[in-house]
Amino acid sequence: MPFLAVTDIVKRFGAEDDAIVAIDGVSLDVAHGEFVSVIGPSGCGKSTLFNIIGGLIGDYEGRVSVGGEQVSGTHPAFGMVFQEESTFPWRTVLDNVAFPLELAGMGKRERHERALHFVSMVGLDGFERRYPSELSGGMRQRVSIARTLASEPRILLMDEPFAALDEQTRLLLGDKVLQIHQQLHQTTLLITHNITEAVQLSDRVLVMTYRPGRLKRSVAIDLPRPRSSEVVGSDAFGHYVAQIWSDLREEASRGIRDVESRALQGGEAP
C-alpha cells in the first residue's frame, strides 16, 4: 500500500459555465521514504496540487490518503515548505525553527534544544540568534525547511523551495536536501519546474501536461544513492534530463502559445 495516495484529483476554478479545469484526474502514489518530484510547465497546476495535498485548498474532487486513511484539510502528517520566502522576520533562526514545537506546548529549554538539532541538520550552526533579514535567500529557505522538519511530518511537501535561488546555490542546497533525506528517510513530494533539480533529488519524476494538468509520464531515476550534485556530470543524469525535457518541451511550448493567444485576445500580458 502506498504511503501517500492521491486519487483522481480534479480542480476547477470559476463559475460552472466558465470554469477553468486546472487539474484533471491526477493520481499519484508515494511509497514510504520515497522522494518523488512533480514537474511541469508554468500554469500546469503544480502549486494547486501542492495546496490540495497539503490541505490549503478544500474545494476539489478526488481523495488524498495517508497510510490508507483519507485526509481532508490540513493534517499533521504533512509538513509544507513554500516557494516564497516564509520565515517569520520577527523571530530569530532558532525561534523560527522552534515554532512548531512551541505550538505543541513544549517548554522553552526543550524546544530550543530540539530546534538546535534541526538548525544543525540544515547547516546553520552559528546563526541561531540571527534574524532572517541578516541571512541570504538560501539560508532563509533552509530555516523554512528546518522549521518544517522540526514538526516531524510523515510527509514533506515542498513547492519549488529553491525557485528564487541561482543555479549554483540550488545545486548545493540540493546536496543538503539529499543529506537530510539520507539521514531521515523522509517521504518527500517535491513540486518543481527545474529538470536538473528533479533528477538530482528524486527516485521518481512525474511529468505533468500543460492546462488542464494531467500526469503525462512517470520516470524512475535509477541513479545510485547516496547522491550529491556531482551526479550532474554523469551520462545517466544527462540521459534522464533529455528524456524528461522531450516530454516537457511540448507542454512548455503549448503553455507559451496559450498565454500568447490569450494575450492577443484579451489584452492579458504574456
Partner: protein
Amino acid sequence: MDERRAAAGTEPVRRTVSTDRRGAAPALGVSTLIVVVACIEGLIRANVINPFVVPLPSQVLAAIPRIVAEEDIPHRFWQTMQEALWASLLLIVVGIALGMLLFRFRLLRRACETGIAALASAPIVLMYPLFLVIFGRSATTIVMIGFIAGLPPVILKTVEGLAGTRKVLLDVGRSFRLADAQLFRKILLPAAMPSIFVGLRLGLIFALINIVGVEFLINFGGLGQLINELAERYDLPGMYGAIGFVILVSVVFFVACERAERWLLSSR
C-alpha cells in the same frame, strides 16, 4: 572559504554602520540648529527681522531659568505629559482594537475607512466647544480631543498592517493547523507590528499637537496655557522658551516611542 559560503547561500547579509557615521548625523543636526539660531540672532540684530515680533534667541535662552522658577514649568510640563500619556494609553487600547475590528469585519471597514481617513485631515481642535459642553473645562476635554485627533492614523495603520500580512506567512500558520486566535496572535499581530508603530507614532504626534493647542485655547492645564498667558503678557522671550519646552515634550515622546518600538520588535 568565503566564496564557497557565498555560493552555498550561507553568506549572511552584512550590515556595516561605522561608529563615526553614527555620531556624525546628530552632530550635523545640532550644528545646523546652532547655525540657524545664530543666523536668526544676526538678522534680528541687523533689524532685518523686527525684534518686537521675534525676540533674540539669546533673550529666549536667558528667559528659560526665569520661567522655570516663576511659572512652575516642571509642574506644567508634568501636566502636559500626563494628558499626553492618558491620550496615548487610550490610543493604544482603543485605536488598535478598532483597527483589529475593522480588519476582521470587511463590510465595516468598507463603510468606515473613508470617513476615518477624512477625520485625519479634519481640524478636530475646532470642535473644542462641543468637548467643553460634554466634559467641562477640564483635563478630560484636553485628553479626549488629543485622543480623537490621534485616532485615525492608529486605526488606519493597524488595518493596513494586518491586511498587508504576506499570504505565505498565513499559509505557514494554516499548514501548522493554527486556530484563528493563534493565527492572529502568532502571525498577524507580530507581522503588523511595524505598521502599527508607524500609526502610533503619527497618532501620538497628532495627539500632542492638539493637547497643547486645546490647553492654549481653553486656557487650562500645562504648557499650552502658559504659552497663552505669556503671549497675553507680551513676554515674547518667555513664550518662545515655553514653546521650547513643548518641543522637549515632543522629543521625550518620540524617543520613548522609538525605544518601545525597538524593544518590542526585538523581543517578539
